[in-house]
Symmetry: C2
């Protein structure tokens, strides 16, 4: 394969050739973050109303990667989304012709900026979590083989603190040495807070970014780049003192979130045991500005971030920073408590059914990790279903945002199934469809146990359940 | 002692007799809460501009109690305060003549409402914390001997959940039976969030109250009463389903607070070890509405509330509610972590001084539990001083709000002492005076280690320290 030119990449993508004069931005990784970033950066306009950048989204030549690349080149956003503004921005980028996608890594050679949006996961090492940093390191090594000396490498991936200094920089320096480049690589870190859902694109454009560079030049370059597509007038950037500080910021945010959720669990159990409706108490407390962010007990914590990020600073202390003495008792306990949460619902259901789940037919409503999204990664429903089946229950499921449940390799029904044939109906995710269903009509003559595991049902719906004469139980609420 | 009349109580207090027609409100306990509540309730005015209530503050006939009673009757607020509006309200109540104080418990017989503001502490039972509910129970018993059948008993004390149902009601019923009263006592709970400091009175009047009654009548009576002196237009009341729910609300608030503070500790240590300024990271994160309440690492957590409240639900589960199976891992760990926090500063200082504190002269600036208040109860400075002296250090201290340190039985200097003769200066409390001192002038030729344990110093002051050539270290900040 010869060196990339825009002409060749465009031809291979079946797209018109973008004008040569614009700086090229490569987005490495076209997942939930990278795909949306590609569109956001392609949407940046100069004072003349013309696109600021030619954006090249790069993913791996796997089936998954090729399907995303094909979608982007065909003008389709590669991930199902309810965000109309993102779809619109995708259309505009396609029409403007400044967004290409490819699996050809020589594209990085054209880039003024490479944005790193590849995953960095945990792995199980002898029963303990450990940093699975290899794939991330490989991605950086790929960049180090291709990028020019002036290219800014902007890491958006959530990484263990110290990664830019101790992984990214050395890899790039090694590549530069190999290629006889004497310049010091330009490396910056800026974490994203992308939220798939109805405000997917907005969560990139309208958000307070924190960033840092390994050098002042890198920080400066990052600031210039970020200011091109982020609404910095209303959401000013914050530069912090080091990439390690910026990396820590993201983890601190998510660890805080995970801990404040896990903290609520003990109060949920207390409320259930003592006839308290904890939600009315929480709603009252949240009126105070000092407590407005209080979380509430629920079905569990899933998704790609909160389930792993709170372990990163601890693991980095051990594996990267040489500070194994640093313990993270709250963050670690939060991950454990949150992971075990769906089993609290299962245990309670088992208790309500007289102590055994053998032969019990459960209808689970909601398998994504969050209301309004179809992402099932590390979803609490997976934990719930696996445990319920182990205990002898039959579980069927539905999710309006999920047809194929990737992790379980199961297909769900498109339409909400009826209650017939279910001993228990578990409301696990507050998808709009579930919060609006008329339960009187839906229940008909069926009288399953209704278990609201995630404050899904409205007061009206709870009255419908009561009027139907169904047994009802709820996480966070005791029998009063 | 014969039954109380307003005439007799007024005469004994050396005050004019209030008009007979107004409902009488008794405030039981004239501490930080009860004293301010007395003034707040006395300030309530009817549509005619006349006082709504005659308020009788009642305290014990101890030296402490009598001194507060004497102060109130003399028109002085019994606790040092920087709140001018509270002083003004005190003056007005004195002029209006509708605020009396007494140790005579027969006063309760006159009351339409008794507000319970007595303490409920923890005690050590064989090395473990336990509810010290005896004094609270005695206070309720005193009421049960005196109050009329229609009197509303409104508990403001932070109590273990279940206390209104399982302690207050049975005690009152026992008293009523003894006295041949057949009515069911009217009991309600409404927790306060009084903050001594410059907005002391406002923290009563302008705050979102949560309340509940043991019966609908009690809840109704509580609502009527609270609406007389709380700005319910801007801070609407929230009625919850049971007194246990209301009792839990207060504990949940304070446990949340204590946990979010304790959580920051592990990040403070991490920052110190890795050259991060955690405060700049936290400031950046706090821009997000979802994270605006994030706390920061510091010197420790003191005061009467956060040090004990997070244990109440756990202890109540064991002692009152028969649910010893309910554990509170986050809340309990938070109390432990927060209690140990001042020792983190001490250990760090010891390390900076080469490993030993023997003979080290420490000047501690700030001994109250919080900036802007003189309350030293359960202050982290106490833990710090005791441990430092045990390790052989000499500790002198200053606090602009504290002359006599009650818990240590020591007198401090009125004026900020100089740095001469100190090896270490510890900034423990962000009192205004400390944040404004010119450190260049204050240090003169002295070069102690400056240890900012609580983000007290401004950037300007930190530059002054650096320019003076002093060694500097800080909680939450690593050497960069």
């Amino acid at each position: 394969m010869t060196g990339a030119t825009l002409a060749r990449l465009a031809a291979e993508a079946g797209r018109p050739e973008p004008p040569d004069k614009r700086p090229v931005v490569c987005i490495q990784g076209l997942g939930f973050v990278g795909a949306a970033m590609s569109v956001a950066v392609a949407s940046a306009r100069g004072a003349d109303g013309e696109p600021r950048f030619t954006v090249i989204g790069v993913d791996l030549p796997t089936d998954h990667g090729r399907s995303r690349i094909g979608a982007l080149n065909a003008g389709r956003f590669p991930i199902a989304t309810t965000d109309a503004s993102l779809e619109r921005a995708m259309d505009e980028a396609h029409a403007a012709g400044n967004l290409l996608a490819t699996a050809d890594t020589t594209a990085y050679a054209l880039a003024s900026v490479c944005v790193v949006d590849v995953p960095l996961d945990l792995e199980d090492r002898h029963g303990s979590p450990a940093l699975a940093i290899g794939a991330f390191r490989n991605a950086i090594r790929t960049l180090s083989d291709q990028i020019g000396p002036e290219c800014l490498v902007l890491v958006e991936t959530t990484v263990p603190p110290g990664a830019c200094e101790r992984v990214v920089l050395p890899e790039l320096e090694r590549g530069f040495r190999r290629r006889g480049i004497r310049a010091k690589p330009l490396v910056a870190h800026c974490y994203e807070r992308v939220m798939p859902g109805p405000r997917y694109l907005e969560s990139i454009v309208n958000f307070w970014r924190v960033y840092a560079g390994l050098t002042p030049e890198a920080a400066q370059a990052a600031e210039r780049f970020l200011s091109c597509f982020i609404n910095v007038r209303d959401y000013p950037l914050t530069r912090v003192g080091s990439t390690t500080a910026s990396e820590t910021g993201k983890l601190l945010e998510n660890s805080y979130r995970a801990t404040t959720i896990a903290f609520m669990e003990e109060w949920g159990r207390f409320a259930e045991a003592n006839g308290i409706d904890l939600f009315e108490v929480i709603d009252a407390i949240r009126l105070r500005p000092t407590h407005s962010n209080m979380r509430q007990p629920g079905f569990g914590v899933g998704g790609y971030c909160l389930t792993k990020d709170p372990l990163f600073a601890w693991l980095s202390s051990q594996e990267l920073l040489g500070r194994a003495d640093l313990d993270f008792p709250f963050s670690r306990m939060a991950v454990e408590a949150n992971h075990a949460m769906p089993l609290v619902s299962l245990d309670r259901i088992q208790e309500l059914l007289g102590g055994a789940l053998e032969g019990c037919r459960i209808l689970l409503l909601g398998v994504s990790y969050q209301a309004g999204v179809g992402d099932t990664r590390y979803s609490p429903s997976e934990t719930f279903v696996r445990a319920a089946r182990e205990r002898g229950a039959t579980v069927t499921w539905h999710d309006p945002m999920v047809d194929h449940w990737y992790e379980m390799n199961e297909q769900g029904p498109r339409e909400l199934p009826g209650a017939a044939g279910s001993d228990v109906v578990v409301l696990a995710v507050a998808h709009l469809e579930y919060t609006q269903v008329d339960l009187t009509a839906w229940l008909g003559d069926e009288r399953p146990l209704i278990f609201d595991a995630n404050r899904v049902l409205s007061d009206v719906q709870r009255r419908q359940v009561a009027e139907a004469g169904c047994r009802f139980a709820s996480i966070g609420r005791g029998d009063t």
